[in-house]
């Protein structure tokens, strides 16, 4: 079966981890091809035309048949997703897009809030290659530090930062980025989170001459490169298309 078709997946688990943050596990049967960390899936209700579009989500964790996503309820589509109970089905298509490069370099993962989603799968993959990454994970409060225990299992070191200081360091991740890069001899940084965080991180990381790859978001129509909806401005001119060229992009390629 081609990746260009929706398959039915059965909800195995759909748990609210913190207010508005959910962990969904589905049984995708044998219809889903193996995924790479950083790739995404398009998800839609099994029936109906409203909401019309599928919603993109990073693959949080993947094993054959079993696909997981971590999501925050922000609107109608995610609201409907949150109401799915085990045993119910949804439609999904994927894996889609280009993921993270997992060659063996010293990697630092920088996550903001729900932006941590793609990093469990990535950290495990790196760990299994004997190359445990460092993790810098920021959030508003300790409640938003979802899945941090699972993640830190695969990480050489985990630094958590909360804006209110309710857990770990107090402040913004960017305040601890400098140190994390320098101390660990980081060769590459992967980021996922709110755009202001990514922007601020980019300035710091660039000043260290370290490559920075980010998983970005944009409204998507098709997820497979046909609608040209998911445009991201290129640093020079024209647009990248997130669903094909990304969702992981070299931060220097993007106009911020």
């Amino acid at each position: 079966m081609s990746a260009r078709a929706y398959i039915n997946a059965e909800v195995v688990k759909n748990l609210e981890l913190a207010e508005g943050a959910y962990h969904l596990v589905v049984d995708a049967g044998s219809g889903m091809e193996p995924a790479r960390p950083g790739q995404f899936v398009m998800v839609r209700p099994k029936e109906g035309l409203d909401p019309l579009l599928s919603r993109p989500f990073s693959i949080h964790e993947f094993e054959p048949r079993r696909m997981e996503i971590l999501y925050r309820v922000v609107g109608r589509g995610t609201g409907l997703l949150a109401r799915l109970a085990p045993g119910q089905t949804l439609s999904l298509m994927g894996p889609l897009g280009r993921g993270f490069d997992t060659t063996n370099e010293k990697v630092l993962l920088v996550a903001g809030g729900i932006g941590v989603a793609p990093f469990l799968f990535l950290a495990r993959r790196l760990y299994e290659q004997g190359n445990s990454p460092h993790l810098l994970f920021g959030a508003k409060t300790k409640e938003e530090l979802v899945r941090v225990e699972e993640l830190s299992e695969f990480c050489a070191e985990t630094v958590v930062v909360t804006e209110d200081g309710s857990r770990g360091e107090k402040g913004l991740v960017t305040e601890y980025l400098e140190a994390a890069i320098a101390k660990n001899g980081v060769q590459k940084v992967y980021g996922c989170g709110p755009v202001p965080m990514i922007r601020a991180a980019l300035r710091i990381i660039e000043s260290h001459g370290v490559p920075f790859f980010v998983s970005l978001e944009e409204v998507m129509g098709c997820g497979v490169g046909v609608c040209l909806g998911c445009a991201v401005p290129r640093a020079d001119e024209g647009y990248l298309h997130l669903c094909k060229d990304g969702p992981v992009l070299d931060a220097r390629e993007v106009k911020w």
Binding site: S2, G229, A231
Partner: protein, 303 residues
């Protein structure tokens, strides 16, 4: 065995289902998902003489049963299309129709001329919904004279299959349709998107960076169907229905209302296999009603 084959203005299609421009890319991604046997024709993303960047993001916004887009006619330009995209398309047994757009009637003509010099193109679809740069920016397709002008310009250099795509943002679509027919079009396709808008009430910004975009999808189906019916009664050339078709039943509504074929657009984004499923649905409908030939349905509306 039921037959889904149709013939429009001399062009034979295996099914009455075409992939609408801008929703099927240049064919590569979705052709395999749909299967060549289910696809009457591929209409590629609108092509211009020179490459176009398109509009800044966000380019898409969902509305109730609809989609607003302001892709802004991003395309690789005719030369790269011919070099990079056409060879792949030629390999499949599906007629390729090139959707063309321009700022002036002369640009449309030059484009048609350039495309006339290569093989593997079954026909042109002229998108007259673009801003008429020489006449203040209202779209060509909103005035009968400008619509005719573009049609004539293309016709003067393109002897082959010529379909003109009408915009619904007009008071009287039949007036435009008749002008385009008189100017030499072989058939008409309608509708292009309906101009619309959406606002994000959290940020108070328009949901599209471009503010206004084109509405497509199931929401516009009743509008498209009405215009197809009105146009079919007003002209003698065949009409191809587009707008909100997501199921075989939707396609049948258009055929019964007078469309000789239909295009499927937004539904391809929602389900890449949409056209395959619609083709199967049409076969089932015919079989269950002992109708041997899909052409028997065209214009069979009972008043």
């Amino acid at each position: 065995m039921v037959s889904l084959g149709v013939k429009i203005a001399g062009l034979s299609l295996k099914t009455p289902l075409m992939a609408a421009s801008g929703t099927f890319g240049y064919g590569g991604e979705l052709l395999l998902a749909v299967g060549a046997e289910n696809l009457g024709a591929i209409i590629v993303k609108g092509i211009s003489l020179l490459p176009r960047e398109g509009n800044p993001p966000p380019r898409l916004a969902e509305t109730p049963c609809g989609l607003l887009n302001s892709i802004g006619l991003e395309n690789v330009g005719v030369d790269r299309f011919i070099e990079e995209k056409l060879p792949f398309l030629r390999k499949h047994d599906v007629p390729v129709i090139v959707n063309i757009l321009g700022d002036t009637a002369n640009e449309y003509r030059d484009l048609a001329e350039r495309l006339g010099s290569v093989d593997g193109i079954a026909g042109l679809e002229v998108n007259i919904g673009c801003p008429n740069v020489e006449a203040g920016g209202m779209s060509f397709g909103t005035a009968p004279a400008a619509s005719a002008l573009v049609t004539e310009a293309v016709r003067s250099v393109w002897p082959g299959f010529l379909m003109v795509k009408l915009t619904p943002n007009v008071t009287d679509i039949t007036e435009i349709a008749r002008a385009v027919e008189a100017a030499g079009a072989d058939c008409l396709s309608l509708i292009n998107t309906v101009r619309g808008m959406a606002v994000n009430v959290d940020t108070r910004k328009p949901r599209l960076k471009n503010v206004i975009g084109g509405l497509s999808g199931p929401a516009i189906k009743p509008i498209a169907l009405r215009m197809v019916y009105e146009t079919w009664r007003a002209v003698k050339i065949p009409v191809v229905g587009v707008g909100g078709i997501t199921s075989a039943l939707d396609a049948l509504e258009f055929l019964i209302a007078g469309a000789s074929a239909v295009q499927v657009g937004t539904a391809n984004l929602v389900r890449p296999t949409a056209i395959r499923e619609i083709a199967q649905g049409l076969r089932d409908y015919l079989a269950s009603r002992d109708i041997p030939d899909i052409n028997d349905l065209v214009g069979s509306l009972i008043l």
